[in-house]
């Protein structure tokens, strides 16, 4: 069925509104002028080259990588436990527990950030990358659980029984059958967790202390108008990186779904 013309126009406007501002990023990242304004002055790689001299940028990048990798790994590990439990077992309070685990998805990040900050300060803990990781695990976990839950749910229960029947213990079954089959979901969860953490600003801003992550560093640079084109260049790099990671994540998620579909076909 053909969609009415008015729909096409609506979708066009919608996409323009959504992505036109983002398109400014590459435009000004390559513009040969310190001022962010039209008309464009000329083409340059200068802003990208300039980033290499920003030593604090590399410290922030290192912090961000530590935070993103740790958050992705931790939220995926916790996600495996939660998803496996939810997919395989019935237990008291399963529904409310799962709902609570998914809650950070809709909770305003500023609330999460402020609450965690208060708790950490009250506990007398120093703010550093580990406190950021704590906050990021919280926001990444719902995504991990959602992805992994579908991976676990799609797995034929009889495969586990077949493995037990053939003499494998539950532990061996987990490593020889379950894990390989949910691996695409696991990869997807890691990549999406990494991307979310890498791009997250609000919680990182509250919990970062003296070890800023990349988005916090970018924010701090915005005070200096002369640094703006450099920030545009950095933003452009992050945009591309995020797209690549999300595409890879989606690839693994589709692979997981395809594997499940094949398995259930028989």
């Amino acid at each position: 069925m053909r969609a009415p013309r008015s729909f096409t126009v609506f979708v066009g406007l919608y996409l323009l509104f959504l992505y036109a501002p983002v398109m400014l990023l590459p435009i000004f990242a390559f513009n040969d002028s310190a001022v962010i304004a039209f008309p464009l002055k000329g083409f340059t790689f200068g802003w990208f080259a300039g980033l290499a001299n920003e030593s604090t940028l590399f410290v922030a990048l290192k912090n961000s990588l530590i935070v993103a990798v740790s958050s992705a790994v931790l939220s995926t590990c916790l996600g495996v436990l939660a998803a496996r439990a939810a997919a395989r077992y019935e237990f008291f309070g399963k529904k409310p527990i799962m709902s609570f685990l998914m809650l950070p998805l809709v909770l305003p990040e500023i609330i999460v950030g402020v609450s965690l900050l208060i708790v950490l300060v009250q506990l007398g803990l120093d703010l550093n990358v580990w406190t950021v990781i704590l906050g990021h695990v919280l926001v990444c976990m719902p995504f991990s659980i959602a992805i992994l839950l579908s991976a676990f749910n799609n797995m034929d229960r009889f495969l586990e029984e077949a493995s037990l029947d053939l003499g494998a213990t539950r532990r061996e079954t987990f490593f020889r059958v379950i894990l390989p089959l949910v691996m695409p979901g696991l990869m997807s969860s890691l990549l999406i967790g990494f991307t979310i953490s890498l791009d997250e600003f609000i919680i990182a801003f509250f919990l970062t202390g003296t070890e800023p992550t990349l988005p916090v560093y970018i924010w701090s640079q915005l005070r200096f108008p002369s640094k703006l084109p450099g920030v545009m260049a950095l933003g452009f790099i992050m945009l591309i990186l995020s797209l690549v990671l999300l595409t890879a994540g989606e690839y693994f998620r589709n692979k997981s779904a395809a594997l499940a579909a094949h398995e259930n076909k028989q």
Partner: protein, 367 residues
Amino acid sequence: MAQPVSEKPMVEIKSVVKAFGEVKAVNGVDAVIKEGEFFSLLGPSGCGKTTLLRLIAGFEHPDSGEIVIAGSSMENVEPNHRPTNMVFQSYAIFPHLNVEENVAYGLKKQGLSKADLKAKVDEMLNLVDLKGYNKRPAYALSGGQRQRVALARALIMKPKVLLLDEPLSALDKKLREQMQVELRSLQRTVGITFILVTHDQEEALTMSDRIAVMFDGQIAQLASPQELYRRPKNQRIASFIGVMNFVEGQLLAIGNDALKVEAGPIGTVSIKPNQMPIALPTGAVTIGIRPEMLTILFNDSDKAEIEIKGEVVETSYYGDMTYYSVRIDQIAKPVTVSMRNTSGRKVLDIGEKARIGLGAESLVLLG
């Protein structure tokens, strides 16, 4: 069909009960399955046959009662420590492994050398007619091949008992019939006790040494295929296994070596005591007659021990056989008569009169 089966019990099921919530899936089952036997659990869906199989495999644990395999109680014994292996209905082939890896799955723990492992896998693949399929990925297998892999994967473990959960139900008719024959001959070759769960009475009849018919979580009758077909204990079993005509009659007298029965158009006849599988008191009884025990007497010269007259109301032509529905006075439902289409024999049309002949030995009294 009959082959020497040892009298040694292999699986003993003792007063086993298993409930899921309110529903008693298995409600007090007692049975002894002998070593080397091809045993079938036959029944409609929901009768508890699959639950019973899963109890034997150890995937479920009985609420009460006990299962003993090869002389050892299976209480608190997990599936991975039982001398049983299972062929699942969906085959449960590991999708991330190839044929060889699937078949060798259970042997991995035994720490065999590569050459020994390969020799064993090859031997099994040979046995199930999958020679050279070692490296074939699981997704590239047809339904029949999956089933062979599932069989090889289970048999390579040298189980004392092989459990088969509706293994043929996913296959098309031709392949299913072929696999029935193959499975039976495979069982004879390896000599392992097979327990087959099926809802297909034909499958159970052709393959089994003995069959347990299950209804509502209980065994209704446990007997050899011939016994089950010829002497079903009640109407429900009789109509589940093949087609049976029911005629209301009277049991007049019970003697030591003869029973006197009277049934409308059949008249009063004398039958043998073994034609009454469970003891009934005199009075009203239901008499069962199989369609192939009734013969249409085409020629006036044809004679039979008992003759009754009827009129054809339906004809179903099957090529090798013709099934007739014949209305007979004093019998409520038209009776089904099957006739082999031998050369020169005509097929009767609807409305034609027919004389039907039968022998008193073909009657069976049902509760």
